[in-house]
Amino acid sequence: MDSTSPEPSLYTVKAVFILDNDGNRLLSKYYDPELYPSMKEQKTFERNVFNKTHKADNEIAFLEGMTIVYKSSIDLFFYVVGSAQENELMLMSVLNCLFDSTSHILRKNVEQRCLLENMEGVFLVVDEIIDGGVILESDPQQVLQKVNYRLMSEPAYGFVLFDYITGNLEAQTDRSQLL
């Protein structure tokens, strides 16, 4: 398979995806246009990966010629995919960064409901970690600083008071509309 050493390149990550506990896609990005170009192939691949990995939390697997590192939390599965020649530890650092950053913006509630309520935050996190397959940042602190995201639901009471005092009522009206 990989008798040759990897070609020096910054394109490390082939794909990243987050699945729910039935193996359905919640978020996924493919960075190599040649790898699973169609949506159907992508979903079949995700399904295969899920079937092989959801039972045991083994951290790393090898499937369809790809190295896959993964991590699960309650009803969520985080995957980072790289080529067979890729340095497994690089992929791990991406996965850890993704997981820690997500965990932080979800205030440690790494579960499906909370994730979906803060989907935009997760989109932004992924965007700050990987750009077109290149690792942009692998330090969760840096990622969080760049995303600068505030938790969506359950605004702390202090915020409401703060908004009230500063006269920024726009946010409040918005909340009441949604009620």
Binding site: M1, D2, S3, S5, P6, E7, P8, S9, L10, D20, R25, L27, S28, K29, Q42, K43, K52, A56, N58, E59, I60, A61, F62, L63, E64, G65, V69, A84, N87, E88, L89, M90, M92, S93, Q112, L116, E117, M119, E120, F123, L124, D127, E128, D131, G132, V134, I135, L136, E137, S138, Q142, K146, V147, N148, Y149, E170, A171, D174, R175, L178
Partner: protein, 890 residues
Amino acid sequence: MIKKFDKKDEESGSGSNPFQHLEKSAVLQEARIFNETPINPRRCLHILTKIIYLLNQGEHFGTTEATEAFFAMTRLFQSNDQTLRRMCYLTIKEMANISEDVIIVTSSLTKDMTGKEDVYRGPAIRALCRITDTTMLQAIERYMKQAIVDKVPSVSSSALVSSLHMVKMSYDVVKRWVNEAQEAASSDNIMVQYHALGLLYHLRKNDRLAVTKMLNKFTKSGLKSPFAYCMLIRIASKLLDETEGGHDSPLFDFIESCLRNKNEMVVYEAASAIVHMPNCTARELAPAVSVLQLFCSSPKAALRYAAVRTLNKVAMKHPSAVTACNLDLENLITDSNRSIATLAITTLLKTGSESSVDRLMKQISSFVSEISDEFKVVVVQAISALCQKYPRKHSVMMNFLSNMLRDDGGFEYKRAIVDCIISIIEENPESKETGLAHLCEFIEDCEHTVLATKILHLMGKEGPRTPQPSKYIRFIFNRVVLESEAVRAAAVSALAKFGAQNDDLLPSVLVLLQRCMMDSDDEVRDRATFYMNVLQQKQKALNAAYIFNGLSVSIPGLEKSLHQYTLEPSEKPFDMKTVPLATAPITEQKTEIAPVATSKLPEKLAPSRQDIYQEQLAAIPEFQGLGPLFKSSEPVQLTEAETEYVVRCIKHTFAGHMVFQFDCTNTLNDQLLQKVVVQMEPSEAYEVVHCVPAPSLPYSQPGSCYTLIRLPDDDPTAVSCTFSCTMKYLVRDCDPNTGEPDDDGYDDEYVLEDLEVTVADHIQKVLKPNFGAAWEEVGDEFEKEETFALASVRTLDEAVGNIINFLGMQPCERSDKVPENKNSHVLFLAGECRGSSGGPFVPLWGETPTGFKSGTPHHLTLRTEEASRMRGETSSSNLKKSRRFSFQAP
């Protein structure tokens, strides 16, 4: 406070996924509020999220609706909500390919990228570069250059990475930013370092000197980023690989020094780079192996996996280097990650002693059902390698394999097992019967036609030669009753072989074949009728020619000849001898033992190399009328690898001519060569008939020129010949960058190495699956016996290898493998000679006497069918150089 999605959940009654029942049209409808004033950031943000979510799920957006939503979105740039703005950037990136006129946001993005808000600048650059094309890139070039050297790391990184993405599209523009990237590389921020290094390498990778300089600089200055270190290691090992020099260069020292880095990622990268280097000595491997050994006991699964996978690779080439890790690998056998456990066991199988095999096999069978098919194939391959190493263990292996064969599994997995059993049978005659019995059992319930036919073929080949051939007949005939057409046809062929080999079984086989003649399928009926008639003749020669050793012509060649024949109908019957011979399949043992994604490879009968050459040569008018291509040699290098022009030659042999194909490559980027010919001066009575020049040879684009030689037909002893070759051409100097050549050129020439034509070029390999039958078929009246001395060969293996290479014939019945601890050996070779009426068939029986020593005589007995006979002249020195073989008409 009630969460904002609860209401929707109640309406839809869905579970906890608020996006589950999103309708594209409804979302696009909602997107109209983007136009409301004042902008409501929260709601707009939510709608943008929905749009991106839908795109992510694979929802198709039409161009019109996407464009409409995109234009509405652009209004949101008026809001100063940070998250909303960031989501706008994301939307721009997602829609860049589906919406029209995305460039209208250019000015907004340029404003953000140069603005005061650092949070916006990085993402704005990335979004901007996604919608920019080459022409627009020049407009923002100034900003990009500034951004690359910006002191804010996120801005610099974004600019560098975006530039890297654009290298593919606009190399020439990005190339101008090299100085900025150079400056960024000395940044304090680790990611900026990494990205700058990556961009610099991509811009310079075609310039070896620049890459070497860059490496020197960075390896000395010492980078902080572990990612950048990994990149440097990869660049260094690639350079080492290309130079093919020894490993005492500073590059190797650098990689080795990385083994002592404090970051595991770097250490692993360095170890893996060393392991992957070709021709690494055990001493150079040792430090890499010892860090991998440490990783084996890491608490991190990924690190253990990485370590054991790399050790597995080391074990393939240097099993002894890994022996030190055996204890650590033993501990990994019980690892909860089955991939790690499997790799550990397969590595141990390669490095361990013969005594540990039984225990490991037992352990592996305890969880073989839990691992993925990819790893099962790895296990089977490891067993296959083990069988070659410890032939005595074949009974344990055979047992294990037969159990695996009964388990569930995909095609690739079953095929690996069947291949492994077949190779054991071929290696160990004593395991033949058990192996065949397991395979018989397997085909009783086998859903893969390919495997069933393969096994039936093997049974036809091996079964008749077992002590009790009759017991296989039942298994084979069951296939005729129960299976699909392809399997039935294969079964009929197998039956015929039993009938041909065993006289006592012949009557029963004839009865069975009689029944097959009633089959519903054409092919099965045809085969049955054909074999029936051949067998009824009861002639050994017929059996040998039509049942044991089928056609030896190339199938695509036959197809083409037949097609040609039908186009030009003639009175004469079709002559089989006009069809080119099949090149014997290369039966190279696969040593690659690693999980492979084989599923993607197309299983197609590709035309062989020779068929392709035949096609190419036939297209050249000068070479028409030479008849079918008889043989094409392997390419011979006529220059050193690193010279101005690289030339290699392929020798194409025809019945009375040879065509030399010179593949030339010009490696000078400031020259254009034209009218390239290779002039050849023969040492013997060979006659140069024609040269076909290569019209033009631009930089690094290979081209071919040809030289046609007539072989002397009056002197049959002139088999070998040496040609001195000179390449002649017209040089036109040209601009290295544009490739624009000067108007006038000058003639020049370049001396190539001498080219030799040897005996092997006149003989085509022919595989005779049943050598005995072919030997008998020719008969002893055409026999010629000679004795040769092999002077400079020391071992039996070497002698066998030399004889095969020298004669260029096909070893049959696996006789090229010399059993261990034997001092005599019989080698069976088969081949066909060029020349008279399509070439007579020459089997050759080579026997080395007992007590093989250097210089002892070596008997060669050959039988040839007609016209030509081969005579060898004995000579006492080196086999290759001074032995002359000649053809002589009787």
